[in-house]
Symmetry: C2
């Protein structure tokens, strides 16, 4: 459902109607400016969004403070020269083209963890497709209680709320699916050898470019919601990141629009999510295998259930990794860290 160009449900849950109204106005003004060929007079904008010209002037000031480069020329009006490379809801939703993912975006300059915020929104009943993103995290989360280093403005740090019709035992499918989606989004823009290390790290030349974390809330036989956390190192320098990590800028040498990349991740994730719902895990699994850097390699899985070393030979139908050990026996692991040796 659309309301003046902003999808409903975007930010009304706070119960603060005035703040909601302001967001809609702001979004309408940005979209009107973006769509314009040249200058827009204050009067035209005023007529379009139905607030006074003085009101328009105030919004323009606020947008400039947020990094929008807007020039104002007497007798001509306003013109948008450039948008900031911030993960603002208006930027993410502009020409996004998804059906569900991103309909509802919560943006933070700094947050402790997008995972915790999205999980709380899940508990409170926020709709499927809600996205929480931030410029930086003070307690960014990684797998197994680890942290995710989140230097400000240098990466994508987001969590996506889904409400899939899956059994809790099938949740690993979503984790692997997310890795496929991120890997495809990254390689759509740049010709880099991004591959998936089981279960869900995105590596380039054996260095970590992106990580995925899934947290879920479930009953015995029903998933209530899942939060998929995606961290992508975009423009951070190597010394801003943990060892054996890399960023897109480091690999490509090019400037990267975080907004465009984030949009592509949402599109790709939605595409694969629809495929999973319609055709099941099999097509996801096939694509994961194509993009895997783990299969066919000599690996060691470090796991509380016992370490295993051998050749990673297959992905099981439930998302587990199958390793053929030195005795030729096939062993499956559903958890743990993979060290890719040979």
């Amino acid at each position: 459902m659309k309301f003046g160009g902003v999808k409903m449900g975007t930010t009304c849950s706070s119960g603060n109607f005035y703040a909601y109204f302001k967001k809609i106005m702001r979004s309408q003004i940005i979209q009107f400016l973006k769509a314009a060929e040249g200058y827009l007079s204050g009067e035209e904008i005023s007529r379009h969004v139905k607030i006074s010209r003085a009101g328009i002037w105030k919004y323009m000031q606020e947008l400039r403070e947020d990094g929008y480069d807007i020039v104002a020329v007497p007798h001509l009006g306003y013109r948008l020269i450039s948008s900031p490379d911030k993960l603002l809801p208006e930027e993410i939703q502009f020409k996004l083209g998804t059906k569900i993912l991103g309909n509802n975006v919560r943006y933070f300059d700094t947050i402790s963890s997008t995972m915790d915020a999205a999980f709380q929104l899940g508990v409170e009943g926020a709709p499927e497709g809600t996205v929480v993103c931030a410029e930086s995290q003070t307690k960014g989360k990684g797998r197994l209680g680890r942290s995710w280093v989140s230097p400000k403005g240098k990466g994508i740090y987001m969590s996506i709320l889904l409400r899939p019709e899956l059994m809790p035992t099938d949740l690993t499918q979503l984790t692997l699916l997310s890795a496929v989606a991120v890997c495809e989004a990254v390689t759509k823009f740049w010709d880099i050898p991004a591959r998936i290390k089981w279960p869900n790290d995105i590596l380039v030349n054996n260095k970590k470019l992106a990580g995925i974390l899934t947290e879920s809330s479930a009953e015995m036989d029903r998933v209530r919601f899942v939060v998929i956390g995606i961290g992508i190192n975009v423009s951070a320098t190597v010394n801003q990141l943990p060892p054996r990590s890399t960023s897109l800028k480091n690999e490509t040498g090019q400037k990267v629009s975080r907004v465009e990349l984030l949009q592509e991740v949402l599109r790709s994730l939605e595409k694969w999510y629809m495929i999973l719902g319609k055709d099941g895990f099999s097509p996801v699994s096939s694509r994961w295998k194509q993009l895997s850097s783990t299969l066919g390699r000599h690996v060691r899985v470090v796991d509380p259930n016992g370490d295993v070393e051998g050749e990673a030979v297959d992905l099981d139908e439930d998302g587990g990794l199958i390793i053929r050990n030195e005795n030729g026996l096939k062993v499956k692991r559903m958890s743990g860290d993979v060290v890719q040796i040979g």
Copy 2:
């Protein structure tokens, strides 16, 4: 850790130190009264808990309002005649004897759902063993989105927070374990034929006496926490309950102390939880099979993955129900509703 007879962590999270102090005082006074052989003078109590005699008098008034029958005789002092049959933290913790379960009790007269409250406490990091209980629920939850009818003071409505070291795929074990614990607690006091219908309903003569619901929060390969919800129909009349339900009073004709039953459920649950941690699922599974009313019966499992009809022949090692259908094939179900036909 103990602090004046009240285990630490009981109620300090609100940040309201005065309320916390009051709870400790209150608990100390109740325990002192309970332990006394006869009358206790105001002066003795005052010395014991280190507040003024006027302060003691105020606490006595408050306790009487909560249903404690306390007589006061000039020159003799106070004496506790009886405690209310309410699920008050002081009552639950008195001579409870557990190590973890019940160290932290949150009591509500009326709450929307103990599950939601306990889940929120789990998100906020409340300690393992936290118990949320209430005299009544306005939106009591059952399995698969159903409701749990919770007439005031007529049942046990509680949720228990656990932080087990389990893989998410093993959570069904905890659900079945809870059914064993509740079944044992109920049959400890009364000689009634309480049996478990797969996965976790407690039936007496084919009527529902108690239900169990588990909700969890997990990553792909790590459980963050589990909330086990237990609803037991204690003294409700049949017309206060849904069809095909019964209560302990209805079955036994006797008066039932909800506090004693709740304590026994916590002890039994803790015992089985320790066994699971130490010896794994096998002893739990054996006991579940002994207490099952499902195995050996002709059943129909109504399940989104496809209905199955046949003889329930076994419990799988992951907690699934194995049915031999009319073609003699063994089929496993991890979810769904069981109708016990023959």
